[in-house]
Symmetry: C2
Subunit: 381 residues, 2 copies
């Protein structure tokens, strides 16, 4: 039994030693030259990860804080925003807009399904004075990815609407070419596919987004125009979380060294191995095949099995931590984070622990069938 | 020459190895049992540091973010708030209230002086419908501490007003008995006198503050009622910056081990040694004696000396980093952070570097007089 837990929840995820070690670099003056050098390095590599020539910012705040920040800057009270809601985090997106005083046009879909481009088009055409469309690209609560995001980007471009994208749980693990797809504001967080500890949010801002932001009365800590001003000096307006900036710098260097394409392919391969294993075990992934996430594997709990007990066995006997569902699907599904350092090793260790824990609960399946199916997927490479 | 820089800016400050090491603990599930245990430990020791039986919260955000959070929760648009402004950070307090839509009653004092209780009393009596008084206890930009805060607390208590206190740069290094002085919301940050890296803000909330907060329409990430709800489960609403929570847990344990009284005395002694040295060198502290800070030493730059060059020599030749002024006093003063791990060693090393750098600039003073004066102060203990 290894002592270190394998954290397979959908974030925070396992962090490479290189990144952990970077956090212990000594404190520096965040208004001095050493910080400016790191600022450059982070900015350049963050743009690479976002596939953008637009501005990218890093803020000391969790992913949800990043979303509150972009909403507070891009949306004024009274602005109309289309928000597809198909899980807990897209529900949070709606809530953030509503708390800001925005008028939400909510497009509901069943949890486990994805909103479609035609739904968005219909809403855009049916509504007057829409300012923005806010899409959660990867719904962490259901393991669903909005695969029609490129088409949605065409619609927002055609109609001169802002496209705000929450890519908290898949940027770096799935494709999000911000410029190509016309994403005006893309948001992610440090602790998911970038394999960095939690505490930072990153977001990209297009010229079109800046035009809107400049007209909005902004909050204080979250004022993006101030961030833009301080960026000219290679500083942040307020004290940055230095150890996390060190860690992010290292984590982004690792993204660059691996190459984004390779990194996305690695996430995709591991996720396909997970889905193959889940199906071989006679279990069903929550989402349909065409909208399944690369980074969050959600599947239905079989009848007669106790969700908490399965996870307890995996944790205590096999040192693998996975998650239940979130919100209304809490007991109904399991969720596995397929993020960051994920490779064949972690994938197989997790499936092995899952098989053993399910067997303990009396669930019937062909022994080793999950492992075998995952193995086969890896051998295809 | 030692390789490691001594960071003597007014935060972030030097962090003990024990605290740095804590950051490299492996990632955990922030909804799991290991986090709950740490949550208990942090909460208990934070209450000790705040000298309060009220609730204390920790948020992933810088100190300014913490201020924005408490303002967003305690103040509604239209609420009248008295804000003494006597430096850059009290100016920020005013700005945060104004951005929230609050009506600011600004009490201006010259930079380097402190607002008095009688000024506050006059404003309270002269204005109708005041909801809160927002005082920056330690003005980091000028090295001034509001020594009449206990009397201000009596005024707000008598008049049933909320007392919001920014103690970002001195909690843990100076006295702030939150309950005794009637502080309704006290805010600090991790990277100052608690000797932890930056990235977290801590705040206390009194029952009177809760009554006000419950009536305010709140932002989303910053919703304190949500924080209170999640605290019942020993969790934070959104993903916490785990490594910084580990670090804060360790840093607060160190506060407890040393004892708050001892810790405050240590800060006071070192600050008195600094002031003695500054005066012995023929330089003048910016604030009058009765409002000088324990934690930020601000003193006027002598004529004929270049601010940037003095600091460059201290940094490059002696590995000691201090700060210039902030805002309109940028070139006119120097600022030294007297925070966290500060002891006789760091104090003398800083004074030595300062003496040498001033001598390089042709400034005339009695050699070693600063060191001697500081030494004498330490020998008095």
């Amino acid at each position: 039994m290894t002592e270190k837990k394998l954290i397979m929840v959908p974030g925070p995820t396992n962090v490479p030693d290189r990144v952990m070690k970077a956090m212990t670099k000594p404190m520096i003056d965040h208004r001095g030259p050493a910080f400016k050098a790191m600022f450059d390095s982070i900015t350049e590599n963050a743009k690479y990860a976002f596939q953008t020539r637009n501005d990218v910012y890093v803020l000391t705040v969790s992913g949800t804080g990043g979303l509150e920040c972009v909403v507070g800057n891009a949306i004024s009270p009274g602005d109309k925003v289309i928000v597809p809601v198909f899980g807990l985090f897209s529900g949070r997106a709606k809530e953030a807009v509503a708390r800001r005083g925005g008028r939400v046009v909510e497009l509901q879909s069943t949890w486990g399904t994805a909103p479609t481009a035609s739904q968005i088009r219909e809403a855009v055409e049916g509504e007057k004075d829409v300012k923005a469309v806010f899409v959660v690209y990867n719904e962490t609560s259901t393991g669903v990815t909005v695969r029609e995001l490129p088409e949605i980007g065409e619609i927002t471009r055609e109609n001169s609407l802002l496209l705000i994208v929450d890519a908290v749980s898949n940027l770096g693990g799935d494709d999000l070419p911000v410029d190509k797809w016309g994403v005006d504001i893309g948001v992610t967080a440090s602790q998911k596919c970038l394999a960095c500890p939690p505490g930072l949010s990153l977001f990209s801002v297009s010229p079109k987004a800046w035009e809107a932001i400049e007209k909005v009365e902004k909050p204080f800590y979250f004022d993006m125009v101030e961030m833009r001003e301080f960026t000219k000096k290679k500083e942040t307006p307020f004290t940055p979380a230095l150890p996390l900036f060190y860690a992010l710098d290292e984590a982004l260097k690792m993204v660059r060294e691996e190459g984004l394409e390779n990194r996305i392919r690695r996430h995709r391969t591991c996720s396909e191995a997970f889905y193959a294993a889940v199906e071989a075990l006679g279990l069903s992934p929550l989402p349909d095949k065409n909208v399944r996430s690369n980074t969050v594997i959600a599947f239905n709990k079989p009848e007669g099995v106790d969700n908490a007990k399965v996870r307890k066995t995996m944790d205590e006997q096999y040192n693998v931590v996975i998650s239940p569902g979130a919100g209304k699907l809490k007991d109904a599904i399991f969720r596995i984070g397929c993020m960051g350092i994920i490779s064949e090793t972690e994938t197989l260790q997790t499936i092995d622990a899952l098989e053993n824990a399910l067997a303990d609960q009396g669930y019937k399946f062909k022994k080793d069938s999950g492992l075998k199916a995952a193995h086969e997927r890896f051998r295809k490479n």
